[in-house]
Assembly symmetry: C2
Homo-oligomer: 163 residues x 2
């Protein structure tokens, strides 16, 4: 295995600092000694993502408008959290309950993924929630308008294999 | 299916504008009429990602330092491109050749994925490249230090199923 070296951070400062958006500009030194003074990183909180499956073997999706791409999308329940304040499992359970009104007897950690490791700081923590059931109404933020959509696991697999 | 409405953009301006990093601040109106004046979107070029497989059924990975998370990662070859200047297939072939020195007789489009549809504008275009073969040396950018790592498909599947 080739020895790949990390970059040396010479200086780091927040060049855009808003509660909803933070950009960091790093002055870095490459392993070959060259200095680059404008490497930008977006600082983002981690994401908890849940794969919720009902006892009837249906996956609980959420359908909502996503302003980054300007489209209405079908997704798994997910949301941001700050690992220093909350565990991934707690955030996953909270997002599931708030976005869908479903709760899970337990959450199993499936994986920790990188989101965009080149430009973003955050990780995605993926949880499996089996035997979820409707427990309460959705508790949505002001910007959220979410439809809960149940699709049988078998149909989801079929759709995936069909591309 | 519930009718989910898109947001209305009242105003949109670049609040951080660097060739390597662009942030847009939108003033948007929610379907319920409420106005939010600080919705931030990161404008990013699209990504072409290749799953390159050799005739010997090995996947061609790249191993490199990723400054967003500060880690050395094993990934599939990928890179940014501008859809108005280059097709996804052409970008995928170019990134494969530049990062690994491998070329493919043909590229098959597998999927178009959203990257982070909440906060980023870009898409990820995924291509399958079968029967790739080493053709030339890597052509790396100044910031790139990339090790090419071949791993048998069977071993990759095993590792995935093991988590």
């Amino acid at each position: 295995m080739k020895e790949i070296q990390k970059w040396n951070i010479l200086q780091s400062r927040l060049v855009f600092d808003n509660p909803w958006c933070q950009v960091r500009q790093d002055e870095i030194q490459l392993p070959n000694g060259q200095v680059i003074d404008d490497y930008f990183i977006t600082i983002r909180p981690d994401v908890a993502l849940v794969l919720p499956i009902t006892q009837a073997q249906e996956i609980v999706f959420v359908r909502q408008y996503r302003h980054g791409v300007g489209e209405i999308l079908l997704e798994l329940p997910a949301g941001h959290f700050y690992p220093e304040r909350e565990t991934g499992a707690s955030a996953a359970a909270r997002e599931l309950r708030e976005e869908t009104g479903y709760v899970a007897p337990q959450l199993i950690k499936l994986a920790t993924l990188y989101d965009n490791p080149v430009k973003d700081t955050n990780l995605i923590h993926v949880f499996l929630a089996e035997n979820v059931a409707k427990f309460c109404e959705q508790q949505l933020d002001i910007t959220e308008d979410i439809e809960v959509v149940l699709i049988p696991v078998a149909e989801v697999m079929q759709r995936i294999f069909k591309g």
